[in-house]
Symmetry: C2
Subunit: 463 residues, 2 copies
């Protein structure tokens, strides 16, 4: 049986589990929001720990907070930041839209830890000094996002880009039928396609970095309504410098505190960047799935690493499971972005009140893309093998190679060559000769061979 | 230190944790998909238990499966259905798109349990008999959805509808300024508004029931490609009748197995119904927030129950936290629907390969809406109080009440009354008299009073 103790807040008494580090406000929130059963993500809680430590140091430096209290708050907050007290943060994601319950949860846990260590600390007056949920929650969530991008997503994308670049080099001379509208087009190299994929990811990383920069502009210092009432004018600058040191990423105080806390436009921006990555990965994974389709009744141009038996019923079948898993991540990121856009559009006056769901889904997108990118690089892209024979056969059989004859015999004659080649199942080269284009001097046989050189055609401006 | 044992599947040997009930296929999947760290939802696993039990009974009845094996499978599968082995289902949501790894996880856990109980059972040949992941995973996910709607979402919505209806009755005679374009309009009653909300939920329940009917059409029996290869022709009918008995909801075999397993249109339909509920709840919760805004500098027409201190910094502030939590749920449901639509649109030929993410997000929407509807009913709607004085004052002061004078004095004269009333800060009644409309016989003073009776104006066709 759970034992309880009595705690109070400004609304009166509450029963709190005896072992809980939190107090009455948190207990009220636990009771009020039995909605998803899922707590606010640990990354946000840990960022709250970093933030409360930074705030206490700044307040002490500015002479507003007793040094002993500050020390006790810092020690407790750092333990929260290290994830040592996650189980004392039970409040549901779907709670008050400002995240007040999570801010109070942090204030209460830190105050209890400080009190247990012998210093009398008040959750609102001391731990929350110079702060409001309205500037701390969006600050903590942005810190968690900046950290997630820097530590998890960006390195994973870099790994994926490198894996794609390595394949672009490896496949540089592997010719392949180009395809547009799913129909045979002029030849390309497989390396060119992989180079395109690598560049997609490179551009995605640049966009992500820009968006992460936007998110690194923090609302802290605005307090309740963006005006900064009750905070020392130097508080935010000092606390944010401290936070930047802790996180190892440069963050800065918002240029306009009304923009920074009445909106979450910066988070919508970051989500857009992750959605773009999801769109890029969707294109890449679908290409891989199609090129790997078969082994007998498909394109059969690529061999994907065989990771597990594909089917519970069809013996020996192997499936492109990693691209599939990645595609599901993309679907989820696109959904998260829809949530975040709806949330971002729902603000009123001085506060957006969709913060916890925006934080949760943004961090979800960051972590899912990181996980999928790494798995895609390590368990699929790195082990890809080209079926060069099949690729060359398709490339040579594609009648779109007549395009290279445009300048010698003209579009209309070339079109007749293509049609006759298909109808008579002859090579383009043979039909060009049959139709007398060598005989009549349109081009020599060497010029014909040169024009029909697939690798040359794929790389008309050199490699 | 974890101890391991050696297991094998068609690809060779794998090390499996000694205590794990699963085998080599599951271990491979755990290794292949370290993406989200979140396993497939318990509801899907439990439905797999129900399905495997139903399948074993059907196969035994049809003479294809030894009775002793069937009994052992049923006992094991029922334990899985009761949630007794959830920790042995570690495969990530983001896995192979058919959910093959989860189907094999079920087959392996059930086979191990049967073997531990003394009967030699093969995961593929016996537990998966007459089945494929391609018909079982979409069947299990639909069973979980049908069950979630019947047991959790529908009752919660009914509770909410009743709470709104009770308020519609309670507020039947409370007059209120109508508002269109956010601007003063002809009077309504607060009860009429709540009646509208209740009807929104009633219609939402009807749409949900229709969509749940569509989802209750199960792919089982199609096996790998929808043709039913390797399944007895009576297998699906028997197994689905058994499943319907277990779940307590009528489900039926798909009319067309190609539609049912090459697409997930039925799930997209169900998601659309939940999105619609999210849209309805968004409208309702925003109305509640605005009517409750204040207490001094807002509309102040409704008092929401006071559940917790609203602010960490502003003493005494109380916020509409339950509508906010509900609005965040709506944002998430709208995002889940975007994921599901993208997933539904991504099928090729005989199989949709976005099943696990569609299952997860659909169940998430069902459970979030259920949780939020219940909390909204119990912790907000039931305790709402009308500020009748404020409501009456706004209703009477709205110059849109001149609309009731159209037939007596005409639109143009009434419009002059409205403007003069605003400019001179006089009541509409006074201005009508001042402008001589009684004197000149347009209407008598009794007719004027009758026309300006707010409750009468709100209910011109009776109550
Ligand atoms: O797991 C199966 O039963 C089938 C998978 C597939 O179609 O490859
Ligand atoms: O929790 C706060 O600091 C503020 C919340 C509010 O604006 O009501």
């Amino acid at each position: 049986m759970t034992e309880y103790r009595t705690e109070h807040d400004s609304m009166g008494e509450m029963q709190v589990p005896a072992e809980a580090l939190y107090g009455a406000s948190t207990a009220r929130a636990v009771e009020n929001f039995p909605i998803s059963g899922r707590p606010v993500p640990g990354a946000v809680i840990h960022a709250f720990g970093q933030l409360k430590a930074a705030a206490a140091r700044a307040n002490a430096e500015l002479g507003n907070l007793d040094q002993a209290k500050a020390d006790a708050i810092v020690a407790a907050a750092e333990a929260v930041a290290r994830g040592e007290h996650d189980e004392h943060f039970p409040v549901d994601i779907f709670q008050t839209g400002s995240g007040t319950s999570t801010n109070m949860n942090s204030n209460e846990v830190i105050a209890t830890l400080a009190r247990q260590a012998g210093t009398d600390v008040h959750p609102n007056d001391d731990v929350n000094m110079g702060q409001s949920s309205n500037d701390t929650f969006p600050t903590a969530m942005r810190v968690a996002m900046v950290q997630g991008v820097a530590e998890r997503l960006e390195p994973a994308l870099k790994t994926l880009q490198k894996a794609l670049e390595a394949k672009a080099t490896e496949f540089a001379e592997v010719v392949k039928a180009g395809r547009t509208h799913l129909m045979d087009a002029v030849p390309v190299t497989l390396g060119q396609e992989f180079g395109g994929y690598a560049r997609q990811i490179e551009l995605g990383r640049e966009r992500l970095a820009q968006a992460a920069q936007a998110v690194a502009e923090l609302p802290l210092g605005g307090t309740a309504a963006g005006t900064g009432l009750n905070a020392h004018p130097e508080f935010a600058g000092k606390a944010i410098a401290d936070l930047s040191r802790q996180v190892g990423v440069d963050m800065r105080e918002a240029a306009d505190h009304f923009e920074a806390q009445s909106t979450q436009d910066a988070v919508v921006h970051l989500s857009a960047a992750t959605r773009l990555l999801a769109v890029s990965l969707t294109k890449i994974c679908n290409d891989l799935r199609w090129m790997g389709s078969g082994p007998r009744a498909g394109l059969g141009e690529l061999r994907l690493p065989e990771l597990q038996p594909g089917s519970s019923i069809m013996p020996g079948k192997v499936n492109p499971v990693v691209p599939e898993a990645t595609l599901m991540v993309c679907a989820r990121v696109i959904g998260n972005d829809a949530t975040i856009a709806f949330g971002g559009a729902s603000g009123s006056f001085e506060l957006n009140v969709m913060l916890p769901v925006m934080a949760t889904d943004m961090l979800d997108s960051i972590d899912l893309l990181a996980g999928a990118s790494r798995v895609l690089a390590d368990r699929c892209v790195s082990g890809l093998e080209a079926n060069t024979e099949q690729l060359a056969e398709y490339a040579g059989a594609s009648t779109a190679i007549v395009t290279a004859l445009n300048s010698a015999i003209g579009y209309e004659a070339a079109s007749k060559v293509a049609k006759q080649s298909l109808a008579e199942k002859k090579t383009v080269r043979q039909v060009v000769i049959d139709r007398g284009h060598v005989e009549n001097g349109d081009l020599t046989e060497e010029q014909l061979d040169q024009a029909l050189d697939l690798l040359g055609m794929a790389t008309p401006h050199g490699r």
